[in-house]
């Protein structure tokens, strides 16, 4: 079972949970979206703008290492991505999280592929998804304007 635990909390994840890439205040961002994980009360707000065909994003929130690391890895991956690439990544991440940890993780997810280990823990899938769901909503707002 410890093997399982280390598969879940891989070095990359614990590392991202500490580094918190992209964390900052969402104040002043035109398009933000707030998500709550109802079982633990964890919250995240993601701010997004699309500028000259590139996504800029920021996130603020508190949560477990999985959700924090997920936000960090997402920020690293998608800083400066095109909106189309961002949507593709969000979809790929969701599909991976529904995989129950089976199959190959999609290459386009970069570091974020380590979250495939989380997909085997049904109760933690929500934690990993939280920032991606918030980004999807914030991005939709940004694109609608």
């Amino acid at each position: 079972m410890s093997g399982g635990l280390e598969g879940l909390y891989q070095e990359v994840i614990l590392d991202h949970a500490k580094r918190r890439v992209g964390a900052g205040s969402v104040e002043g961002w035109a398009h933000t979206h707030h998500e709550v994980n109802p079982t633990c009360g964890d919250e995240i707000t993601v701010g997004a703008v699309v500028d000259d065909g590139h996504v800029e994003l920021v996130w603020d929130g508190r949560g477990c290492s999985i959700s924090t690391a997920s936000a960090s890895a997402m920020s690293e991956l998608l800083a400066d991505a095109s909106p189309a690439d961002a949507h593709e990544a969000i979809d790929a991440f969701r599909t991976m999280m529904r995989s129950r940890g089976e199959g190959e993780p999609p290459e386009l997810l970069g570091d974020a592929e380590v979250f495939q280990g989380v997909a085997r823990y049904v109760m933690r899938v929500k934690c990993a998804m939280l920032p991606w769901v918030a980004l999807e909503a914030a991005l939709a707002q940004a694109e609608a304007t």
Binding site: V36, P38, T39, G41, Y121, V122, M123, R124
Partner: protein, 421 residues
């Protein structure tokens, strides 16, 4: 001793039901009240309790994950079984509770605790039929009393049957809700659902289907039928007591405020305010009937593997045997559709000169369990000029011998009590 032999000629599934298998002498013709549970349902619940039981949706552990998957898996199976999406299926205590969730939610909306489009105003109308079960009548009476709305109803004829014309006659441009039973638990009458839905759409009214007597017996496609809400109980469809189902069209279900509130229904709670999750969670306050959901899932599996089409064919046969049995006995009045007309596999009768309680007692002494009383439909019985009736209802484990025994015993009732001498 009583006459029926304990060998049966067309026993298809009786052996699957521990109570029936252990008591071959018992003739169970009360499935419209509650059905027996097959071994697979009992075993599924037990295996869950003995291996995977943990709080659902609450915590991070593997056991919680397994419990939650079993619980949500049952929801998916029930949804597929009635032609709905999983997030349109809400667990309730029973069908009565499910109907009350709708009525109390609309009541809250009317008090300003929910969206305006669901609110009732003074003078708005709620439309039911005179044949409804109390579970689909009193909640609407109370909703009317809370909001100043008026209750209207389609009248039934001398056989206890209402028609779409009677319903239309009782409707008005102010009709906001139309609530009706798919199949009557007294007469076995099958409602013209498509016509009712069309009428309700014309009026801009919400439809609420009491599917208690249809979900166990018919292949339901709730989305296809186009009703807005529907309610049914597990214990009438081979599942456990303690769990019922509310179906709601996703859009409406998410608009309906939850009248019963508590843990697991919310996103954020402060001392002054609570924000609710989307359906179905917003309605599932507190610890849910978890092992019962697993049992209901197994019941659905059993019904699907038997085949709902095969069940229907079988029940048409059983309904024919039941009406024949009644027709053969003088002084017995059949309520509901005439013999030959479509009906569910149940018959309710009035025995001339013998009170239903006495009829039931006599049948019981012959090992035959039927239901006697008003079957929670007092207005219908009053309209038919009686206070109580005797109902025999069949299900997939019923055999032609069961019905033959019923017919024979029914023939002895009036002589025993000296009626019509």
């Amino acid at each position: 001793m009583h006459p029926p032999s304990t060998e049966r000629t067309d026993t298809v599934t009786r052996a699957d039901f521990p109570l029936l298998a252990a008591h071959p002498e018992r003739i169970y013709l009360d499935s419209a009240a509650t059905s027996q549970r097959p071994a697979s349902v009992i075993a599924a619940e037990r295996a869950f309790v003995e291996n995977d039981y943990a709080a659902v949706h609450r915590g991070a552990s593997e056991a919680v994950g397994r419990s939650t998957e079993a619980f949500e898996g049952a929801r998916e199976r029930v949804a597929r079984f009635v032609g709905a999406q999983p997030n349109e299926i809400v667990w309730a205590e029973n069908a009565t509770d499910a109907l009350n969730i709708v009525a109390l939610g609309i009541s809250d909306a009317s008090l300003g605790l929910g969206p305006r489009e669901l609110a009732l105003k003074e003078g708005d109308e709620i439309l039911v039929t005179e044949a409804e079960h109390h579970a689909n009548l009193i909640p609407w009476q109370r909703l009317a009393a809370r909001t100043g709305a008026l209750l209207r109803w389609a009248e039934v004829d001398d056989d206890g049957i209402w028609t779409i014309d009677a319903l239309r006659a009782a409707s008005s441009p102010r009709t906001r809700i139309v609530a009706f039973a798919h199949v009557s638990n007294v007469t076995g009458y099958i409602a013209p659902v498509a016509d009712v839905v069309a009428l309700a759409r014309e009026l801009g009214a919400i439809t609420v289907l009491d599917a208690c007597q249809s979900a166990p017996h018919l292949s339901l496609d709730l989305a296809g039928l186009g009703v807005d809400f529907a309610a049914f109980s597990a214990h009438k469809m081979l599942g456990p007591t303690g769990i019922g189902v509310l179906y709601g069209r996703s859009e409406l279900l998410n608009a309906l405020p939850p009248a019963r509130t508590g843990g697991s229904t919310i996103t954020t709670v402060t001392m002054t305010e609570a924000r609710f999750l989307p359906a179905p969670q917003r309605f599932e306050a507190g610890t849910q009937p978890v092992s019962q959901a697993v049992g209901l899932g197994a019941a659905v599996d059993y019904l699907e593997s038997f085949g709902m089409q095969r069940l229907h064919t079988r029940e048409v046969e059983l309904a024919g045997l039941l009406t024949d049995a009644v027709a053969a006995v003088p002084g017995v009045r059949l309520l509901g559709p005439r013999p030959g007309a479509a009906r569910a596999s149940l018959v309710s009768v009035d025995v001339d000169g013998v009170h239903a309680h006495d009829v039931g007692q006599f049948l019981d002494s012959r090992g035959i369990a039927v239901r006697v009383g008003h079957h929670c439909a007092q207005p219908l019985h009053r309209r038919l000029g009686i206070t109580a009736s005797t109902r025999a209802s069949a299900y997939l484990y019923s055999t032609s011998d069961d019905i033959a025994a019923f017919a024979a015993a029914l023939g002895e009732v009036r002589p025993f009590f000296g009626a019509g001498r």
